[in-house]
Structure formats: C-alpha cells, structure tokens
C-alpha cells in the first residue's frame, strides 16, 4: 500500500466560526496519518479552536503564522482511527 504523505491547503478565508474548523474536519476525515493540513483563515477564533482540537485529539500543531491579513495554521495528522 502506498503511504505517500500529502500536504493539503484548506482556504477558509472569509469564513467565520464554525467555518474554518468545519473545513479542517472535512480535510481530517479524508487525511491519512502523516499528512499535513495547512489551514488559511481570517477568523481569529480559528487559532484557539484548532489549538484546542489538536491538544484534545493528539494531532500535532506544527505552526501558527500571522500572515498579512490572515492566519496560516499547519497541522500534522498524527492521531486518527484507522
């Protein structure tokens, strides 16, 4: 079985709660262990929501970057029921 890790960019800019976290979950549902999900959001609540989710679920929060006018959040899928 091929297990090539994927890097998926999810653009939730312009969407407000629960848009970004919902978009993240949609990507998580189709992701495999080791995949990187890059979430772009303008909703400031996305930082706290995604941080809380990674802490609870055991997935890895790689980085949160404040870009010009939006936030870039990088998550590595390290915990998911297979």
């Amino acid at each position: 079985m091929s297990t090539v890790e994927q890097h998926k960019v999810i653009d939730s800019r312009g969407s407000f709660c629960p848009g970004p976290i919902t978009d993240l979950f949609k990507a998580y549902r189709s992701a495999q262990l080791g995949d990187i999900i890059e979430l772009l959001a303008t909703d400031p609540a996305a930082k706290a929501d995604v941080t809380a989710w990674t802490q609870k679920s055991g997935n890895e929060l790689l980085d949160i970057v404040d870009e010009q006018g939006y936030i870039r959040i990088l998550i590595k899928v390290t915990k998911k029921r297979s």
Binding site: F16, C17, A48, R81
Partner: protein, 420 residues
C-alpha cells in the same frame, strides 16, 4: 414570453414562486411571463415540526399541507422531480422526460440528510432530519425506553437547523422529567465543534443550561462509525461511547439533481454569490436556501429571506432595470431550551450572534411561527417580517453606505443578517 422555472418546492422554492406570481400578476395574466414550480412531492411539510413529532408526540399530519393549495394563482406546479439541469441549453429535464426551457432559473433543491454516509448510522441511530415518519420512530421508541444512556450526536456538518441538536437534548431532558424517570437516564451530547453550540455567545447560554440539567457534553467528536450490535459510537479522534438509544444528525449533501447535473461542489451544493444569490458564472440563474454553498445556517428563515432578494432580482431582470439587491446574511434560528423558554440565534455576515437571555416571549414567538408558516409562504406576512427582521437586503450600489431597511413593491419583501 419570459419563462421562470423554480426547481424545488420546499420553503424557498414555494415562497419564491409565490412572490414572483404576486409581483408579476399582470405580466402572467397578459401571457408575457410564466412561472413553473418543479417539485417531487404533493405534500409540503413544515420541517421544524419534526422536533415536536419526535419529542412531544405530535402527529406528522399536523405539519403537512398539499403543495397546490399553498400556491398563488399564476404558478404552475409541475409535480415531477427535476432529473437534470443544463445551463448550456437553459433547460430542466424532469424524471418523466419533460423538458422545461427557462429564461430565469431559481434553484431551491435543498439539502439531503443522508445517514448512509456514516457506517452503521442508518442501522444504529434514529433521526428527525429525514422526515415526519422517521421523527415519529423516535417518539415511539421513547415510549418503551426504560432507562440508560441516550446519545445525541452531530454526525456531520453542515446540517439543517443548527440549533436542532441542542433542542433535541433539551427536549429529551424535559420528556424524561415529565415521565419522572430523569434519574434513570444519562443524556450525552456529542459534537464536532469546540463547544456545545458553534457560536460562542450562544454557547454561553447553552453550556450552563446543559450543566444544570446534567446533559454531558463531549466536544471535538467527529463521528467515524457506529456499531449497532455493540451499541457503540466511535470518533475519528479515537473516543468511544456506549449508548442505549442513539439520536444522530446525519451528514447532509446537496440534492441528487445538482450532483447528477455536475453543477455543485464536492458536497453537491451550488456555488452561489452570497449577496445577489446568483449562481457563480451564470447570468440568469439563482440559488437559495439549503441548496447553496453559502456559509450561513441551513434554515427556512434564511431561504425565506434569500427568496425575497432573488424574486426582486429576477423581476429586475425581466423589467430590464439595474435595481439589484444583495442579501446581508441575516439568520434567525429559534432554539427551545426547556421550561417554555427559547432564544433566537441571530446574526449577519458581518455581525456574529450576540448575548441572549432565554425568555417565554421568544418561546411563544417560536411556537407561533408554526401556525403562521403556511400564510408566510404566500407572501402575505412580509410587512410583519420586515418589521421583525429589520434590514436583510441592500441595493448593490449602496451596500456600503445605507442602513435604511428596504421595502419591495407590493406584498412580498424582506431584509437581512447572518449566524452560525
């Protein structure tokens, strides 16, 4: 002859067709405009009634009327489901093979609650999103329930009526209290969101009430699958809970006709401009309500308010004016929280939900809406709604500058805000 075809005879489609028939009555009478409403079902349900059917034992018949009786003169009801929409030939083909050519098309095909999308959900869970009969199954099961764990789970987002999972938990609490068996029942609420209600201000109301009523909440629970034999529900994140009764909100997707026609996104929702409600890339095609990909609540109120904008814009096109309106994202979702109290989740694209206090007045208003729904569908209550909802629409050119509510020509009208 200008031919307007409305596909989908739910709340939004029925209301839009009636608004058009009301505003264009002279043109219809003169033979220069036709309005066709394409729908599958003879019977039109009031979907919020499903909660009362499931948790209060109301009869499904109480919340149904025949579609032709809801339509204004001038609307031709084509009871034949749309099978294909073709933007290229500007046509709608029905299941029986009729081909309807349009000059203006309104897509109001709704969203489909589909338990089959989660393994084990259809077999292991009941729900109140797939119709009155399925809601009645919940009520019947509650009659024989002797105690144990009842799980209310949000198994997919987005779904119709965002407050409905919370309402289900509140109504279950009330039901078991009335039966004097609340101490024999654990109510567990599973949600993928970070809090009991996605919008933080509304969660500030819901969370303490859940605590007070002993409704246990687990957040960040993305349902993976259900094992009906073992009576267990599993999350993608690795958590598992036992249940004796499972009531789940199924994942939703767009209508089959949208998917089959290849005009939707990956979930079958129609890419739509959130202001004008025009389908992206199309000049004379609009979409409303649950059928769209717009990030607002999937609810009847939203469909209703968007219908006013779409009807106005279609009429502007027929009359060749540049008078185009934009919907401002207004939502208004009532939520019962028990003890005859309710709140309204209200917002717009730019104003999130604000603090709320549950009240009996709001409960009565919510209950009243079930009675006025049928009249609301023909547009005769629009003046009342304009006062209640306030501003829900703007002229395109003036959107950044005006704050004054608009009023349409005669019977039909509305304005706008948004929510989560």
């Amino acid at each position: 002859m200008q031919r307007v075809v409305v596909v989908g005879s739910g709340d939004g489609g029925t209301f839009t067709a009636n608004l058009l028939a009301s505003e264009l009555r002279d043109e219809i009478r003169g033979g220069s405009v036709s309005i066709q409403l394409v729908g599958e079902h003879l019977h039109h349900p009031f979907q919020p009634g499903n909660l009362d059917i499931a948790f209060k034992g109301a009869s499904p018949d109480k919340y149904v009327k025949e579609e032709p009786k809801l339509l204004r003169k001038g609307v031709e009801f084509v009871q034949d489901p749309a099978a294909r929409i073709d933007f290229g030939t500007k046509s709608v083909t029905t299941k029986s093979g009729k081909v309807l050519i349009y000059d203006y098309l309104v897509i109001a095909t709704g969203a489909v609650a589909d338990p089959s999308k989660v393994p084990g959900l259809a077999e292991g869970a009941m729900n109140f999103h797939t119709g009155g009969k399925d809601s009645q199954r919940i009520w019947e099961s509650l009659q024989n329930f002797k105690g144990g764990t009842v799980v209310v789970a949000v198994a997919g987002t987005p779904h119709k009526c965002p407050p409905s999972p919370n309402e289900a938990a509140f109504m279950l609490d009330e039901f078991f209290h009335k039966r004097e068996m609340r101490d024999k029942v654990k109510i567990r609420f599973l949600t993928p969101y970070p809090r009991p209600y996605p919008a933080e201000k509304i969660s500030h109301v819901v969370e303490p009430l859940f605590q007070e009523k002993g409704i246990e909440v687990t957040t960040f629970f993305n349902v993976d699958y259900v094992d009906p034999a073992a009576r267990k529900i599993y999350s993608l994140e690795g958590e598992t809970f036992d249940y004796d009764m499972l009531i789940a909100i199924p994942p939703h997707h767009g209508a089959d006709v949208i998917i089959q026609s290849g005009i939707g996104d990956q979930d079958g929702y129609v890419p739509t401009d959130k202001g004008t409600m025009k389908v992206k890339g199309q000049d004379c095609v609009y979409a409303i309500g649950d059928a769209t990909d717009i990030p607002v609540s999937k609810s009847g109120v939203v469909a209703h308010l968007q219908s006013v904008v779409v009807a106005h814009n279609v009429i502007s096109g027929i009359h060749e004016t540049q008078d185009i309106l934009e919907y401002n994202g207004r939502i208004n979702c009532p939520m019962e929280v028990g003890q005859r109290r309710a709140i309204f989740v209200s917002a717009t694209y730019t104003s999130p939900p604000t603090d709320q206090t549950p009240s009996m007045v709001k409960y009565i208003m919510k209950r009243s809406f079930a009675m006025i729904y049928w009249r609301a569908l023909n547009g005769s209550l629009e003046k009342v709604f304009d006062v209640f909802f306030g501003q829900t629409r703007f002229p395109v050119a003036k959107q950044e500058t005006t704050e004054k509510p608009l009023v349409m020509v005669t019977a039909p009208q509305s304005g706008g805000k948004q929510n989560a």
